[in-house]
Amino acid sequence: MRPKQVAFGLGVLVLVVLPFVLSDFRTVQLATVGAYFIAILGLDVLTGHSGQISLGHGAFMAVGGYTTAILMANHGVRDLVTIPIAAAVAGGIGLVAGVPALRLSGLYLALATFGIAVVLPTILKKFDHFTGGSTGITLFGKPTQTGHGVGVWGLTNNQWLYVLTWTIGCALFLFAWWLLDSRFGRSLRAVRDSELAAAASGVNRAKYKVLAFGVSAAFAGVAGALFAINVAYTSPDTFPITLSLYLLVGAVVGFFGSIWGAALGALLIQFLPDIVGLIPHVDPKQGGPTTFFFGLVLVVLMLALPLVLRVASRVANRGYLGAR
Amino acid sequence: MSLLELQGVEARYGEIRALHGVTLTVDEGDFVALLGANGAGKTTTLRAVSGTVKTSGDVLLDGQKLFRRTPEAMARRGVAHVPEGRGTFSTLSVLDNLRLGAWVHGNAEPRELAHVFEFFPRLYERRLQQAGLLSGGEQQMLALGRAMMARPRLLLLDEPSLGLAPRVAREIFGVLGRKNETGTTIVVVEQNATLALEAAQHAFVLETGRVVLGGDAADLRKNESVRRSYLGY
């Protein structure tokens, strides 16, 4: 067996063991981590491998989250069924968004996606007959909720959410792994590294860039759906610009472009507030410090990253960004 | 008195060694051509002098050894480097490009500008246009004009005739010759060896990062191997 397969096996083993040793509440926190994990995987595909930046991935999560919430609350669709629909809706929107994105260079794409993430909550609030406005949509106790918020198959509700999220998370991880190792992944990186060279070798750059947008958005859609199911609630403020930015932090923490680091980034998003609380003389209740440290982590990592990547690529003896 | 001296200069790009100990001397007022095949190290030799590549070995200017060469510092010492590909500031106007040439002297002097426009009347006509909109030949003229604005003691040129119509290339070399007559030392890297050897007084031939041959341009023109390899007859 190759080291990566061993690592994946170990990872799955840890995931299986965790619920037995963790409290019920930590289990559900890790379920939320799973949702972030999936969103970061998507961001890795898009930004890490096709070189298109998105500062607005929270917006695709919102699309997924609202697809699930509206279907569950208003159309009697079972929560599990809404997940692939959320992926399809978000993925479809991603494909559509990917076309104009082709026309935008890196900086302007960053600007546009940032703008979309800032604006989306106000649009969700405006169309309140559809989205429930700022009140949001409560899913807890809805008949379409698997386990009705109590639990299922002898699992507590939290354990159920954990199993659901991480089963999908592992499946999508394997999918991303396979995808990026396939011809598709190679073509993506070829386009990223040199559009000219890729075009010369017959790769249709537009097709691959748009597809990457679609795949990435579908991942985020699943993440949003799972997030909504996890929290059993969704509202416009669930998907603020800070969520998008934190996802970016998560992707950077996970050594941008490496799906293996996604878990690390996801854990950071969830637990950084707790870690900040451990610093002496810092009152986490003030809120400011946590935000500050999120920014600081990003800044420090961006400064350290070139160094880390150089070392990593020496160790792994691989090319760009050291890993895939 | 030698203006420029390279002693055993080595340079590398990452893992690839481009210069394996280049040694050559350029006298004050000289016009030197560097010849060689692709990848022989001509361009890197120029870059070694202007400090745009990291090197080991010694580079001497006026007999003084130079430590910590940076492009800015070399510009201040009177070395003007016109890299290959007519590097101009594409979104700046022709006039601004020329003004930048005189950066090391503070503000550009009108006299100097007039001088450049005398050499290149086309540039005067197009002085308010964006540099990026000029034709290839005009851009090369601009690059050269900009270098002249620096009133350099040593002018380094990389492939000034590349991609230009023969008539324009000759025009450029004509200007170089006139500049050289007024005392500017010139080192030119040129694919068109015929043209280069006509204009230059001395020449060096580089192969795989070393100087393999050097001497009077006129002598080299008669050299059998040079003729076969670079002059094509």
């Binding site: 900086l107 405006k126 | 979104t91 930048l100």
Partner: protein, 293 residues
Amino acid sequence: MTNFIQQIVSGLASGGIYGLLALALVLIHRSTGVINFAQGEMATLSAFVCWTLISHGWAFWPAFGATLVLSFAGGLALETTIIRPIQGGPLLGIVILTIGLLIAFNGLDTWIWGGAAKQFHGPFSTAPIRVGGVAFSKQDLGVIAVAFVVLALVGVLFTRTRLGLGLRAAAVNPDEARLVGVRVPSMLALGWGLAAVLGAIAGVMAAPSLFLEPNMMQTVLLYAFAAAVLGGMDSPLGAVVGGLLLGVLLNLVGTYVHWIGGELRLATALAVILAVLLVRPSGLFGRAAARRV
């Protein structure tokens, strides 16, 4: 009719602030080639510094002057310590870094000064002046005047001074700029310092009418992006005119298109950004990047 004119006048007043921040964005983009997402938060931080000096008994103008000096130093320090190490790497790295600064500065403001809104006494009176049925204040006129004065100064700096020439050269082609003797790292640092100063002016001008709190410039940043893009990302004149146009546009659309109302102002600004980027990326005043291959 009075309301129509009033909305235009108010729009110009808000637009002046958008334009000022847009000017800072344009300056940094022009001199370093980067879009600085932290610009709004840097402006807020400067405004807090100024507020702190004033609340310690300083008069406005000395406090303002000191804030500009501190902001300039801060911008320089930021470039030399944080931006420079990854300068020359991929541009997106620097963009992500500015996002980190955005988050960090916002947290820092909240940490130090708390989240509650603070009153900020500006240099201009907010007492109303009425002409016909239309009202405005010295504050509004002051902001617009400051925007144009700053614009003129930036214009002179860029087109009439040696420093401006160096700044532009360093941005367009850093390698080439070094060859002619321009100290490129110093130019980039100066660019950041100057942008921080412009941001500080925007922040201090905005604070009296928006009320000072850590998120003060967050929405303004998006408006400033829209203004800068509308004017053409590289044109200082475009930034200010774009800001004023946007301010008026948002007010008129918000007032007369009931479907949009006050709730979709941000969305309107985003629509402007997307439309300009996709249809005419050079904006109203920007020159198409000339490039011949």
